[in-house]
């Protein structure tokens, strides 16, 4: 049994958030499930939809996604679809039409789940979050403190997020799960690569669901810059991630299965990136 508030200003919202044992509600697709399962039991639920909904905007190579923007809003935005095809692919694999009509990218970050598909995208697209009321801008991966935990002060919340366009990159994204629709990933992998002829100019690699949060190793990525894009190189990469990643066993899969998949998906990414 909670009380419900729907504030209309940033200040009102942050005061309520600081004052009560509370949870923010945007799409509610995560919150409603957790409250019903009694995983969480907040005293107060604060609906963010009372704040005026801003437009999705583009500034040079960046997109700004404001509070209360749903996945469906993004998929209905032609410029977004043209400029962020990999993120479109990722979003289309989140939930179902009913879920995408309500759920928001900011809620996915708020969830801080290692299986968060949009969260994984923010690791690859240089994601920033704008925090209110402090007006800070922070890298999204720095916000994540562990499963379900954000590094925010009691009065703070995410007001918008920003992603950077990856022009001239090839991409691969795969989410392995038990069903097609509504899949919470057992493991997922996203790779972005920019080539100069056969030479790797830039590469970004993120795994989901294999650790307490999305996993990205900058040193391994940096180590392949300037090398030839080849099967051998991806075999090496597969070994490196296999050694470094230590997933857990849970209801969806065993640690052992996940570890094998870490390797196999990396090899698969080579064949897929090589095709197009």
């Amino acid at each position: 049994m909670f009380r419900y508030y729907k504030p209309h200003t940033i200040n009102e919202l942050s005061e309520l958030k600081a004052k009560y044992d509370s949870k923010l509600l945007s799409g509610g697709t995560d919150l409603m499930v957790k409250m019903r399962a009694k995983v969480i039991n907040p005293e107060v639920v604060i609906d963010t939809k009372g704040l005026e909904k801003e437009e999705i905007t583009f500034d040079g190579s960046k997109i700004r996604i404001p509070l209360n923007t749903t996945y469906d809003d993004l998929l209905s935005n032609n410029e977004f679809c043209d400029r962020f095809p990999m993120v479109v692919d990722i979003i289309k694999q989140i939930g179902s039409p009913q879920i995408r009509n309500r759920a928001t990218p900011i809620g996915n970050i708020g969830n801080a789940s290692p299986a968060g598909d949009f969260l994984l995208a923010t690791y690859l697209f240089h994601g920033y979050a704008e925090i209110k009321p402090s007006n800070k801008k922070v890298r999204i991966h720095q916000l994540i403190d562990g499963p379900g935990r954000l590094r925010l002060k009691p009065e703070e919340f995410i007001y918008s997020i920003e992603l950077k366009e990856r022009k001239g990159f090839k991409y691969y994204y795969e989410k392995v799960g038990k069903r097609n629709a509504m899949n919470i990933a057992i493991i997922s992998l996203g790779v972005l690569v920019k080539l100069d002829g056969e030479i790797i100019e830039e590469i970004k690699i993120a795994y989901g669901s294999v650790g307490p949060t999305v996993v990205r190793f900058k040193d391994i990525e940096d180590g392949v810059i300037g090398k030839k894009f080849s099967k051998e190189l991806f075999e090496e990469l597969a070994e490196k991630y296999y050694e470094r990643i230590n997933p857990i066993t849970d209801v969806r899969a065993t640690a052992d299965y996940r570890k094998k998949m870490v390797k196999n998906l990396m090899l698969k990414s080579y064949y897929n990136l090589n095709k197009n």
Binding site: F2, Y4, M32, R36, S96, P97, Q98
Partner: protein, 152 residues
């Protein structure tokens, strides 16, 4: 908390408990019994309603969130005689126990409003959030094609 919203084209005002789900409110208080509870966690789509033109799971919405919004349930489509989709489901025998049917019809309605001539793939994607334990989906897809373009 008092909420005012449009239900099936009519203005409604009601005092709801703050923690009540839209699903329970619509079923118990508004007597819209086409809105079913299957899983209660966003997976099955039996509780699908149309909220501001979009299909959503009413088990994941609070009743208070309906304030100021526009909601349609299957009862409303019946009242205004918009039964083309229902008729197609009957015609094609896309119903067995019928538990999932209202949810499917609401999702079909939104799909066809947006895309009057969907391909089989688009139909499958549009109905991805609705589960049926009985039919095996073939007849449901036939029904949607029939509703869309009278395809036998």
């Amino acid at each position: 908390m008092i909420i005012k919203f449009k239900l099936n084209g009519k203005d409604v005002e009601f005092d709801v408990l703050e923690h009540k789900r839209a699903l329970d409110f619509l079923r118990d208080d508004m007597r819209m019994t086409s809105v079913k509870e299957g899983c209660g966690e966003g997976e099955c789509g039996a509780c699908t309603i149309i909220l501001n033109g979009k299909n959503v799971n009413s088990c994941m919405v609070l009743a208070v969130e309906l304030d100021g919004q526009e909601v349609w349930t299957l009862e409303g489509l019946n009242e205004i005689g918009d039964t083309k989709i229902q008729d197609a489901y009957i015609e094609k025998g896309a119903i067995q126990c019928g538990f999932c049917t209202p949810g499917f019809i609401m999702s079909t309605k939104v799909l066809l409003d947006k895309n009057p001539n969907p391909s089989e793939e688009e139909i499958k994607e549009g109905l991805e959030g609705n589960l049926c334990r009985c039919t095996g989906y073939t007849k449901i897809i036939e029904a949607v094609k029939f509703a869309a373009r009278g395809e036998k």
